[in-house]
């Protein structure tokens, strides 16, 4: 019975951890949206900045992946 409650806690925690994905979604959307609005104002400068956009996406997305990792740890390691 006690093990069941601990497992239930782990499952609830894993579900809560996946809320973090929403934050990553907001972050990535922000980066790409701002890039697009800048790129449409000055299309000639856009090509040189795509690498920077991808670096920004990678940093924003890493934090979402961390929440995925927390969920995995709760499901399989705890």
């Amino acid at each position: 019975m006690e093990g069941d409650i601990a497992q239930m806690g782990a499952f609830i925690g894993a579900g809560l951890a996946s809320i973090g994905m929403g934050g990553a979604a907001v972050g990535v959307g922000n980066v790409v949206g701002n890039f697009l609005s800048g790129a449409l104002r000055n299309p000639s400068a856009a090509a040189g900045q795509t690498a920077t956009m991808f670096i920004g996406i990678a940093f924003a997305e890493a934090l979402g992946i961390f929440s995925f990792l927390v969920a995995l740890l709760l499901m399989f390691a705890v």
């Binding site: 690498a51 670096i55 992946i65």
Partner: protein, 260 residues
């Protein structure tokens, strides 16, 4: 991973979405030793064979009007060469072979892992952590070798107000040491999550065999979802290889030019 028995049951195919990431010995047996040939070994070997084949067949003809495979080889070479030059600068080109190797290995193991029944080596943190630690260690060593203790000025931001600098230095040091963690987990997490999502939809796909009521709606939807996510995964496989290499270039630039 969970230890319950997964397999065929009376109600159709039931499998665990994480089962595909299990490392199994190739030729039977249960135990995995360091010398055991496993499916990870097989797919890493296939990755290396595919890269060698691309570059050998691509550079054999040396035609002025390139064949298809030569075009692909030249495209890959030029793409990485330009990326290293743009991000890390001219003096970063000395490290171009290493970065090209990283890119091709990650790209090919991501793409080969998308084949049905394949195993993706890059979906394991054990693989990506080694790649990321090698990048981290070599970049740190290059920084200290080129600049000596002057490399530490990377953490001392001279454009900030003096009162803020110690706090910023602390934050910079922490973010420097988190780099290999996020570098490796980003790649492994992306590959693992995408493959697991495909498997989750694949578990819904045979529902029509069980109940013709709900199944008639769910089965076509999940098959369409698998197709869409598969297309997304092809893109992610490329983008993650690109992101891994471009971050390597950024870290290399920090090591070569640490002064703000």
């Amino acid at each position: 991973m969970s230890t319950e028995a997964h397999g065929e049951e009376a109600a159709g195919l039931v499998f665990h979405p994480m089962d595909q990431f299990m490392v199994k010995p190739l030729f039977g047996g249960e135990t995995l030793n360091w010398y055991t040939l496993s499916n990870a070994t097989l797919w890493m070997g296939l990755t290396v064979v595919a890269i060698i084949a691309l570059l050998v067949f691509g550079s054999r003809g040396r035609a002025i009007i390139p064949s298809r495979i030569q075009s692909i080889g030249e495209l890959a070479y030029g793409f990485i060469h330009k990326m290293v030059e743009d991000v890390a600068g001219k003096d970063g080109l000395r490290y171009f072979p290493y970065i090209m190797t990283l890119f091709l290995f990650i790209l090919f193991s991501n793409v080969l892992g998308l084949l049905p029944l394949a195993f993706t080596p890059t979906s394991h943190i054990a693989v990506t952590a080694v790649l990321a630690m090698l990048v981290f260690l070599s970049v740190t060593l290059i920084g200290f070798y080129k600049h000596g203790l002057g490399f530490l000025s990377l953490f001392w931001i001279s454009s900030a107000p003096l009162a803020l600098r110690p706090i910023l230095a602390l934050i910079e040091v922490i973010s420097y040491f988190v780099r290999p963690v996020s570098h490796s987990i980003r790649l492994a997490g992306n590959m693992m999550a995408g493959h697991a999502v495909i498997k989750v939809f694949a578990a819904f796909a045979p529902l029509v065999l069980i109940s013709t009521g709900v199944g008639l709606a769910v089965t076509p939807l999940s098959i369409m979802a698998i197709t869409a996510i598969y297309a997304l995964e092809v893109m992610v496989a490329f983008i993650q290889a690109y992101v891994f290499t471009i971050l390597t270039c950024v870290y290399l630039k920090d090591a070569l030019h640490p002064h703000h």
